[in-house]
Amino acid sequence: MNLATAKTTRWLGRWLVLAAGTLAWQVWADWRHSAFFPPPSAIGAQMYHLWFSGPASYLSLTPSATGNILPSLARVAAGLGIAVAVGAPLGIAIGRSAAVSGYLDPLLHFGRSIPAVALVTVFIVLFKLGDQMEVAYIAFGTIWPILVNTIDGARTVDPLQVETARVFRLSAGQRLTKLIVPATMPKFFAGLRISLSLSLVLMVVAELTGSTDGIGYLINNASNSYEMTEVWAGIVLLGILGYGLNAALLGVEHHVLAWHRGARRLTN
């Protein structure tokens, strides 16, 4: 079996288990008619009906979709965007200064371990219910992994690489763009991956407690009305979105850090 067929087989195999599992669920649900575990066909139909049966001009999205899914995603994007925009430069600045990171280490360590979920009401009080609150909440929660990991990455730039930059008399700006930032990228992305999953969690938490729209709100609503299929629809949607976002991030990382994989293979 050559390399191409091997890769395709593996790719098919990955989806095979998922497909088999879904099929098994379908069969079981049709047989048992459980109220709590509707068949995947019903869930799929409900998802289509709720969100994807809209007019073509809106990409087939229904008002429920545009009114709930899009705002949720937008808030996640905004929150994460703020976290990256603040956390990455700050992380590099702190990481490059042994003194500053010495002063801030215990604070960051502690700040990171306070569960953000415990602070959701604080944010509601501070910002009142609404978009602002959710974005701020997500930004606050997701900045920690990015910050801590970026600091670590900036701190552990190979000293020989720094000496090389000194010897060839690169300016501070060149050192930053050609050395520090690329060298910090791997650990930054590790932090970003954690923050991405965390952002979805915080989005749901914020919407379960203090929101009038959003995916979390939909799930909660459906649960209160005992609409099991809708609850499942929301959960499946979260899974798909999470999968898609993670895959997108991995794709970006794959491209940006291609050199890292190559170099590490040599040293391992």
Partner: protein, 268 residues
Amino acid sequence: MTEYHRARALPWVRGLIGVAAFLLIAEVLSVTGVINRSALPPISTVLGQAVLLLGNAQFLGDLAATVEAWMAGLAITVAVGVPAGLVLGSVPGVRSATRAVVEFLRPIPPVALIPLVALVVGPGLRMNLTLVVYAAIWPVLFNTIYGLDDVDPVAKDTLRAFGFGRSDVIRRVCLPAAAPFIATGIRVASSIALIVSIATGILTGRIDGNGIGAFISDANTAGSINPALAAALWAGILGLALNALLLWAERRVLPWHHAYLEESEAAQ
């Protein structure tokens, strides 16, 4: 004090200065009104409240309940996750086959499942544990599989060349080699377990049972932000303490794996 002692003490001193400076600045900002006192109480109040909570019987009971739930959840997670990981890890191709399923399930925030699990399993400790195990099992499962993957084939071959059978190889080479990874997975699972347990408590309130989450939920309903913040503070400290506890246990059981520790920490 010698140069050596001075160098060792420096990070501690810097850290303490950092914490002190932060507390001072936060207090000043609050007192001068830069931070709205009605929205966010001054840090001295929060710290004072935190100390007061230690004398609060309800809180102490909740603290104990959370630790109990954490222990139970982590125990179940390890009891299910490690053997499952060992079995799956020894079967070639399992990793790639189950990738799709895992990539869909992982991103679903456990808190999003609260409505579903509450309806299926009923509120209370059972729901809490279900969610905890669901959320915490992934790192244990993965690190076990990854740990087995990483066993040095030369080590295995060496043992086989001396006439040891397959079970011996697993016992004497694979498990000890995989142990550090499994240990790291358990530590990650531990923090997830704590956070999910508390989050569930916050979102479902006291019907879910006792715990720090329930305490915070009560404080939220009563509108008293001080105890909520103080409890969140204690949640952070609890997380650090439990992590330190596991680290200590890890060092006792696996004293030889410091080098591995650096590698797997970097991978987190």
